[in-house]
Amino acid sequence: MIQHSKELDRYLADFERFEKNGLRGGPSWVHQVRRAAISGFAELGFPTTQHEEWKYTSVAPIVKAPFRPADDEPDGLTKESLSLHTLGQAACAQLVFVNGRYSPALSSIGSLPDGVKAGSLATALSADPAAVEPHLARHAGYHDHPFVALNTAFIQDGAFVSIPKGKVVERPIHLLFVSTHDRPASTGLSAGFDMAQDRRGKAIVSHPRNLILAGDNSQAMVIESYIGLNNALYFTNVVTEIVAGESAVVAHYKLQRESEEAFHISTVQASLNHSSNFSSHSIDLGGALVRNDVNAVLDGQGIECTLDGLYMVAGRQHVDNHTRIDHVKPHCSSRELYKGVLGGRSKGVFNGKIYVHKDAQKTDAKQTNKNLLLSEDAVINTKPQLEIYADDVKCTHGTTIGQLDQEAIFYLRSRGIDLEAARGLLTYAFASEMIGRIKVEPVRAQLEHLLLARLQKDS
């Protein structure tokens, strides 16, 4: 897959500029990691559909677009302007990132239990590198996933969350990632949004890097939200590494609502230890081209791992969810449920791999992917992949692809509900199971609101 195209060279040149810039700083081991990652990326190149893991998702549009890292934080953003996207200050600790960089002015963390850290990775790298070094880039491999490699090469900022042993963080920690255009300096535009003007801004790429460390017997909920302002064209390439210590309980939510033109590629890499409980909820509503990888390595006994997902796309959106669960040790269970709603000419991909290593006896794994196609032109490619090398395990998988039930539509219409509302109600009914599984009230409320608004808009 070696392809030294001019697109690849552009990223390599960006990297050289990035590394030369003294401001990017960080301890020397970070530079080594970045260097190793950029070589990994140069070697891997951008994936093509020849690559098995990228068979149904062409990243050509991302490769072609001349994305550049953001220079400065755009002005004009205020807490008020983001209030629609936050989850309520009282309810959550809010950390806001603009184009991948932490914004203290827009954040409001409030008080956290003693020893709990929630802040910028850049700050942690300079102030407390010893806390970061054992984990950063140690979990998400950059030798086989080109976009993880690219992200790792450009590690600079993102969230660093660390929960000490035995601490329970009751308030969810909300990481809000906002993407914008860089605008021409003399922007006299206030509230009025001028599309043509905005178009002259350059398309931005950001590589947010998050590290979430939950110590033994700790508990935390972390929410990542991704939004775009002004329907901009931009590219978010995020990697989140999560480490759950022994008996830790970690709930991770990712709510992707990027702009309609945005590209979003993400990897969540979770390393789970003995008796920990990890749940991942991955919600995709936005973006033009979206690829998520959620990988969990169950490297201890008695671990419970839940991977939930909901993707709801329309128009020409493309969303690809790849998951991989590695059962390394015995007596662990994993539950995976991904549901998709595809309308218009949208395309969805689900690839769920469960890998049961030979020592992982008594593994109990269940995977389900259900899809609702709302139009003739929507497409879903779904593939369960079970690789089992132990002989005493229980692994099941199931996939469904269906359309709205005509009988149910008629039932609703016979009660006075019009056709479009009936379709909306049934679509909501299909998706609502995933909403019900969300345990963080402000997230559930926000999602419910978004889905209802979406269905009303579609009708």
Binding site: G416, I417, D418, L419, A421, A429
Partner: protein, 256 residues
């Protein structure tokens, strides 16, 4: 209120209704009986607007309007209600949520103010008594995990809430034990009024012990082959449907 003239309907190219004529006036309860496959349920679904049935001939005039030209939702808004033989289960949507959407669509159509949540719940509480529905049931996802009796009660409860002019009950008695049957029948009887009409479709005479019809019609092979008073139902119970067969053959013969 309702006039059905020479109604023909088919599904998948197979003709099921082959010339139904029926007039229903306000205040009347009509029972439609017949053996399995005679077209009773098809008639109910055609009247409610189910699109899988294609009307090939005839007309249906409802309150002076061409019923067949209306969408299913418009028929409901104009006051037609179908109690389903097999009510649909919809996980993820509660009965209250769905019913409020229906009630308000109907009210809007009739030029009435939409009900807010409080007004709606007050109205619903009143109607729940009709069929002894309990609150827990209507807060659950629509019909999901309901017993057969609960589903049928839910249908009659919905009828009470939606307040139709013409209610069509499609084998509402099927699968009910005697207690459930009585509850459902009481609900239906409480709903009878001079302003409303009902079409009670049933296979068995049993339901008609509790809901006394003004007229009984027998459908055979897609046509009404005999009409009479409530005594006809008892006669059918005694003799079964076979004795009507020659008349059906005769009717067919006469037309051919």
């Amino acid at each position: 209120m309702l006039e059905i003239r020479n109604l023909h309907a088919s599904v998948g190219g197979k003709e099921i209704l082959r010339g139904i004529d029926l007039t229903v006036n306000a205040g009347e309860v009509h029972a439609v009986m017949g053996p399995n496959g005679s077209g009773k349920s098809t008639l109910a679904h055609v009247l409610a607007g189910r699109e899988t049935y294609v009307v090939t001939a005839g007309e249906v005039v409802y309150e002076g309007k061409d019923l067949l030209a209306m969408s299913p939702e418009d028929r409901a808004r104009e006051g037609i209600f179908l109690a389903f033989q097999y009510p649909v289960e919809i996980p993820g949507v509660s009965t209250t949520y769905f019913l409020k959407a229906g009630v308000n669509a109907i009210r809007k159509h009739r030029g009435l103010e939409e009900l807010d949540a409080i007004e709606f719940l007050a109205m619903v509480k009143e109607k729940m008594k009709l069929v002894e529905m309990d609150q827990a049931l209507i807060n659950r996802p629509l019909n999901e995990g309901f017993s057969g009796g609960e589903k049928k009660r839910n249908e009659i409860f919905q009828m009470g809430v939606l307040d139709p002019k013409l209610a069509i009950l499609d084998e509402t008695d099927s699968g009910l034990d005697i207690d459930a049957l009585k509850i459902v029948a009481n609900g239906v009887n409480a709903f009878r009024s001079p302003a409303r009409a009902m079409l009670v479709i049933t296979h068995y005479q049993r339901l008609l012990n509790y809901i006394i019809p003004d007229f009984v019609h027998v459908i055979f092979d897609g046509r009404i082959v005999k009409s009479g008073g409530k005594a006809l139902a008892l006669e059918l119970e005694e003799k079964g449907y076979d004795w009507l067969k020659p008349e059906a053959d005769l009717a067919q013969h006469t037309i051919a």
